[in-house]
């Protein structure tokens, strides 16, 4: 069930009311989704703390990238292409650090983005309960619950002057 609001305060009240209400088959942590046109840090606040795991991807990616670079470079210099150049060591550490650094960042960025896609579940099929208004100026609150709770939810939504309520039955 999706309800649209054009006012953030109203949406917040709806969420808090939903949380406090005991609705069958509805768990505020899992079954409540807020769709908004902009990034609201407040949404996270009132939705409660949900861990973001993207940073772990970042760390792993960056470290992997750096290590890969260093060993690829040093390995190729030492093993395969051991050429003396400019009177420098065959495996010169300082210049290798530059590329290690670049690959560190490259790995970090790539894997972070991969992590983002995984964590955010993208790319995804759009759910049928969606309104173009969400990308414009309205906030949508998507609730998943038993069908029996539909009336209750509608009540809560309506109470806070929902602009539109969409409903999808069953699955």
């Amino acid at each position: 069930m999706l309800a649209l609001y054009n006012n953030f305060d109203e949406a917040e009240k709806v969420v808090s009311e939903l949380r406090s209400a005991d609705i069958k088959g509805f768990n505020a942590d899992d079954d409540l989704t807020v769709k908004s046109p902009i990034e609201h840090p407040e949404v996270e606040e009132f939705l409660g703390d949900k861990p973001v795991k993207v940073q772990w991807f970042t760390l792993v990616g960056a470290v992997m990238g750096g290590l890969l670079a260093f060993f690829l470079i040093s390995g190729s210099q030492a093993s395969f292409y051991s050429q003396m150049k400019g009177g420098k060591p065959i495996v010169p550490i300082p210049p290798n650090m530059v590329l290690t650094y670049e690959m560190f960042i490259l790995g970090g960025v790539y894997i972070t983005v991969l992590g983002f896609l995984i964590c955010a579940g993208l790319p995804a099929r759009r759910s049928p309960l969606y309104s173009a208004k969400v990308s414009e100026d309205q906030i949508g609150i998507l609730v998943k619950a038993d069908e029996s709770a539909a009336a209750t939810l509608k009540g809560i939504f309506a109470k806070h002057k929902a602009l539109e309520i969409q409903e999808e039955a069953g699955r």
Partner: protein, 455 residues
């Protein structure tokens, strides 16, 4: 103080205004596009000729091994830094006035990097063997030379380009969703549907989006700094007088930001005019950008002075000779023009009445860019003509028309890319403008509440 943006602007209005820029182009658009195409074609023609005949047609020689190609390469790389500056640094600093203008700045980053990349190829004597520079496991286990600053350069540019593209794309996903939702059905709708990756603006998406965007921004800042310091290493790591300067990396970075900001002002004015973005690209934002540019101009001027001073104060007669030659030799007109454009012209930006004067700022930004281009040329050429070995000095070298043609062609290529971009990707970040409006109105409300409460 006037506001950066009207707070009462309707969100739907934002969508409408920006989406309009993706709609049927105006006549002016076609004129610019065609002109860019023509200039680019000239460049392509010159490049084909150079490819067939050899690098000699560029009128490079021994000792002038690098010419305008490398100078223009650095110019484009430098240009790319402003996008990063605006989106990443200001993002981290929560300077929200950046929001209406960062998208095109980022696009500028990407496209100027792509243009710079072209010069890597144009500059090579055997461009058809360019893949030798890639670290791929060949059957003979021959690897590129990882000690070479040029290879670092290639790697840094690749990293920067791909990260910038990703950054630009990630930041555009919500806007692609808007475009998807608002555009009339057709191939573009399909395109945006794909590009939006099914974005719905759910809290989960936004949450991860925020962290990712921040992380990538964090990465981009050191990356951007490293890219131009590596480009500086091409020179600073060498042994040549006038290049072997410790202060080159910061100098290059400052120069990069400088030229980038100047370019942003130019494009800001053009976009504002062409797409009628007066509501978003407002004069207060221009003013802020101009002030930022002025600050960077002063940093650059300072670093310039430092470089000259350290050369002058040193016992390195050879480097000193290069400096003297820059100021008095055959390159003197260009060198002084660079000083004028880079260090004198920015003082116009000190005056409030010019800061929002669009024609003046347009002219100033073009002069600054010219100055920065000259700066790059003045880094590359004089050292060649006046190196360690007096016998090989050559003061008479002048780039051929082929070389100039390719340099101009690159501007056409950049414009071409940018014009196409403007019609495909919303050049103002809609969702972030909304955020900006929202936060501004919240703040105003709070302020009003506070004032009321005090009563």
């Amino acid at each position: 103080m006037t506001k950066d943006i009207r707070e009462d602007i309707a969100w739907a209005q934002i969508n409408q205004d920006v989406m309009k820029s993706l709609e049927n182009p105006r006549k002016l658009y076609w004129v610019i596009l065609f002109a860019a195409l023509m200039v680019f074609s000239v460049g392509i023609g010159c490049e084909i000729y150079q490819y067939i005949e050899g690098m000699g047609v560029a009128n490079m020689n021994n000792p002038h091994m690098w010419g305008l190609y490398i100078a223009t390469f650095i110019f484009w790389i430098g240009m790319s830094h402003s996008g990063t500056l605006l989106s990443a640094i200001l993002h981290l600093m929560h300077a929200d006035w950046r929001k209406p203008i960062y998208r095109f700045a980022e696009a500028m980053t990407t496209f100027s990097l792509m243009t710079a990349g072209l010069f890597v190829a144009v500059h090579l004597g055997r461009v058809w063997q360019i893949y030798y520079a890639l670290p791929y496991p060949s059957e003979r286990w021959v690897w590129p030379n990882f000690q070479s600053p040029l290879l670092w350069d290639a790697m840094a540019i690749f990293t920067y380009l791909s990260s910038s593209v990703i950054f630009l794309y990630i930041g555009s996903i919500p806007d692609f969703a808007i475009a998807r939702d608002n555009i009339h059905p057709g191939w573009r709708k399909k395109l945006y549907s794909i590009l939006a990756l099914g974005w719905e603006g759910t809290d989960r998406q936004w949450r991860n989006f925020r962290v990712t965007y921040l992380t990538v921004a964090c990465f981009l800042i050191p990356l951007a700094v490293s890219v131009h310091s590596i480009v500086a290493s091409d020179f600073a790591m060498s042994q040549q007088p006038g290049w072997h300067v410790t202060s080159f990396p910061p100098y290059f970075v400052a120069g990069a930001l400088y030229s980038g900001c100047a370019a942003i002002i130019t494009l800001f004015i053009i976009l504002r005019y062409v797409f009628k973005f007066e509501e978003y690209m407002t004069l207060p934002i221009l003013k802020k950008t101009v002030r930022l540019t002025f600050a960077i101009a002063m940093v650059w001027t300072y670093l310039n002075c430092i470089e000259f001073a350290s050369v002058w104060y040193s016992h390195d007669q050879v480097a000193k000779d290069v400096l003297i030659q820059k100021a008095t030799g055959p390159y003197a007109p260009f060198w002084w023009a660079m000083i004028f454009c880079g260090s004198v012209v920015p003082f116009v930006m000190m005056f409030k009445r010019f800061q929002t004067n669009i024609p003046v700022m347009f002219a100033v930004s073009l002069l600054l860019n010219l100055g920065m281009w000259l700066e790059r040329w003045m880094i590359v050429a004089p050292t060649y003509s006046h190196g360690y070995y007096p016998w090989t000095w050559d003061h008479d070298q002048w780039p051929s028309l082929i070389q100039w043609g390719i340099v101009f062609g690159s501007f056409g290529w950049f414009t071409l890319l940018f014009m196409v971009f403007c019609k495909i990707v919303p050049s103002v970040s809609m969702y972030e403008v909304k955020e900006m409006v929202y936060h501004r109105s919240q703040a105003t409300k709070k302020k009003q509440l506070g004032i009321e409460g005090a009563h």
